[in-house]
């Protein structure tokens, strides 16, 4: 793989996406993992080339779903996300729309809010530095401004900057990033970012209910110490695990998110909680519980993205959309009644 030949120092200090590795990065265990993962990546790359057969089109099918769960090779990721999310179709049906949004009249308040976050989006990524050439900050600004004017009910919500940032890193294309953002915010995620954030609050409660069903001891612990779910998981939902889990793991999760929908977020959350049940249960007070929830998103279990992704489909057990929809309905009522 090309990334292995970029020069050892550079390749090690900065990951393939441009993120600087933290000083305490555990190179030894990452190396051990990556040499194994490379075999998987190679195998998947061959399978995907056959599947796409150079015609760059795919139909939703069980086989494609299985392929996606095993990871989309990076070179096909943007394309597959575009197709399975419907972003490609929308883009093709609305030629020039994105650029018209950027040329139109602007809402000053919205621009201000977006500007505030420009230097605060991935300062640890060399491509998002002000001094980078090309500087992805400009691209990010455009995508967010266009989206804020496209979906006026949502406008701009913090968290969208990180999501758009990832989309830009993967697609390397402004317009595609815009349409993928639209797919996520407009269709895949249920109302997480609008001013009332009703969908977000609902889904945090839904997770609480699912934990009650699937990991009751943890639910009981949270209840006993009065820890609200929103305290420990709001960032999981809003940022779709960006800056919570390692980059490669986040991308594997997003592969499934674009194909299978928001239910994947619950699978990931439940897997993290279930897998670390004993560890979480060691907590004996409120701050300890909060700390545990931070720690369970670190370590080899989440770095080893391939086995992690296998786990999310087995560990939490069955999770039907019917169950989630029913829970969403009751939780939404609860959230609304709490004002």
């Amino acid at each position: 793989m090309a990334r292995r030949e970029d020069g050892r120092d550079w390749a090690y200090r900065v990951d393939p996406y441009g993120f600087e590795r933290p000083e305490d990065f555990d190179y030894a265990s990452y190396e051990a993992f990556f040499s194994r993962y490379l075999v998987v990546l190679t195998r998947r790359a061959i399978k995907w080339s056959k599947l796409l057969k150079g015609n760059n089109s795919i139909q939703k099918s069980l086989k494609v779903k299985r392929y996606i769960r095993k990871g989309i090779p990076n070179e096909h990721r943007a394309l597959v996300w575009m197709i399975v999310s419907g972003a490609q179709t929308n883009m093709e049906q609305n030629p020039g729309y994105y650029h018209r949004l950027l040329e139109g009249e602007k809402n000053a308040k919205l621009l201000e809010a977006i500007k505030t976050d420009m230097n605060r989006t991935f300062p640890d990524n060399v491509k998002f530095r002000k001094t980078a050439d090309p500087c992805l900050q400009h691209v990010l600004y455009n995508v967010l401004v266009a989206y804020g004017h496209h979906n006026k009910a949502v406008g701009y919500c913090q968290g969208m900057n990180f999501i758009a940032g990832y989309l830009i890193l993967i697609t390397k294309n402004e317009e595609e990033s815009f349409w993928l953002l639209d797919a996520l915010i407009g269709r895949i995620l249920p109302d997480y970012y609008s001013p009332a954030m009703l969908g977000l609050k609902t889904d945090q409660e839904v997770l609480g209910e699912l934990v009650k069903m699937k990991v009751p001891a943890v639910a009981e612990l949270m209840e006993r110490h009065g820890v609200m779910w929103t305290l420990v998981v709001s960032r999981w939902f809003i940022c779709l695990f960006i800056d919570i889990l390692p980059v490669e793991t986040v991308l594997r999760i997003w592969d499934c998110l674009f194909y299978e929908g928001s239910k994947i977020i619950f699978r990931v959350a439940l897997t993290l909680i279930k897998q670390n049940q004993a560890f979480i249960l060691e907590a004996t007070n409120f701050p300890d519980i909060c700390d545990k929830f931070k720690q369970i998103t670190k370590g080899t279990f989440v770095t080893e993205c391939h086995s992690f992704m296998q786990k999310i489909f087995t560990d939490p057990g069955s999770l039907s959309m019917a169950t989630i929809n029913k829970l969403r309905e009751t939780c939404r009522e609860k959230v609304l009644s709490q004002g």
Partner: protein, 277 residues
């Protein structure tokens, strides 16, 4: 209750469950635990050596307000262990909440290294106040307006609030009243509250005078100071003052004079410029 009543109250005003900061038995929480780290590494997995909290807090029946039923409230005056307090940082987006926290936690300020806080984040720091260890769990919140509806839920669990504005951003100062209204509505009646005017290192960009901050604070009966996360001015003081107030509330010793937060802040605060000391 009027807004003017959001101010410090004596111990007697503390509901029983809020007095539960007293911990029996000594235990130690390693100070090295950093829960604020970003995650792109494959550092030690949970449960491995160095993980804090594993079984070392078993003797504490809870921190401040930790047991919602209040059933295990220990008697006062025996806090020989560690008090847990929860401090929440609030204020408009971009006023420097995270920077202030990082300056306090790590003593560092690295321009351009901060990410916007989404939802809520936590960092812990243990302070020693008058010989007693006080573990601050500091909640760093998102400042964007729409997150307030999410943040409301957190207020009730906070023992102290640091409300920030940016002295170089008039709008953030003008919004302080709205923040106080929020606090009035959602926080505990006896929450410790302090107003901070941050970024005073940017003297040339200042648009909010210190006198304006002082006046507003006085109006609402809230202690006030100007801070700089960049230079470190008054950062430690802001957190120490809070820790002192909460520690005194939780374990008032028989012969100890009442701690007066306003007076302490007035005495200890340092000025930002040449005009006033």
């Amino acid at each position: 209750m009027s807004l003017l009543e959001i101010r410090l109250r004596g111990l007697s005003a503390l509901p029983a469950r809020r007095r539960a900061a007293v911990c029996h038995g000594l235990y130690h929480i390693p100070e090295s635990q950093n829960t604020g780290g970003r995650n792109r590494s494959s550092s030690a997995a949970p449960g491995q050596a160095g993980s804090p909290g594993a079984g070392d807090t078993g003797t504490c029946p809870g921190g401040f307000g930790i047991s919602p039923e209040g059933g295990s409230t220990p008697s006062l005056g025996s806090c020989s262990g560690l008090c847990h307090v929860r401090v929440m940082l609030v204020g408009d987006s971009g006023v420097g909440k995270t920077c202030l926290l990082v300056r306090f936690k790590d003593g560092a300020f690295l321009a351009g290294s901060f990410i916007s806080t989404v939802g809520i984040d936590f960092r812990n720091k243990v302070l020693t106040v008058d010989g007693v260890k006080v573990k601050l769990q500091i909640w760093d919140t998102a400042g964007q307006e729409r997150f307030r509806s999410v943040t409301h839920a957190y207020y009730r669990d906070a023992h102290a609030l640091l409300l920030l504005y940016d002295v170089t951003n008039k709008a953030s100062f003008d919004n302080i009243q709205a923040w106080l209204t929020e606090i009035h509505e959602y926080a505990q009646r006896d929450v410790v509250l302090m107003l901070l005017g941050n970024k005073v290192d940017s003297a040339q960009d200042r648009v909010v005078k210190r006198e304006d901050g002082e006046k507003l604070a006085k109006e609402y009966g809230v202690p006030f100071m100007e801070t700089s996360a960049k230079s470190g001015l008054n950062v430690e003081l802001a957190f120490t003052a809070i820790a002192k107030e909460l520690k005194h509330r939780s374990m008032k010793l028989p012969n100890e004079p009442k701690f007066k937060l306003h007076d302490y802040v007035k005495k200890e605060v340092r000025g930002s410029g040449c005009c006033r000391s």
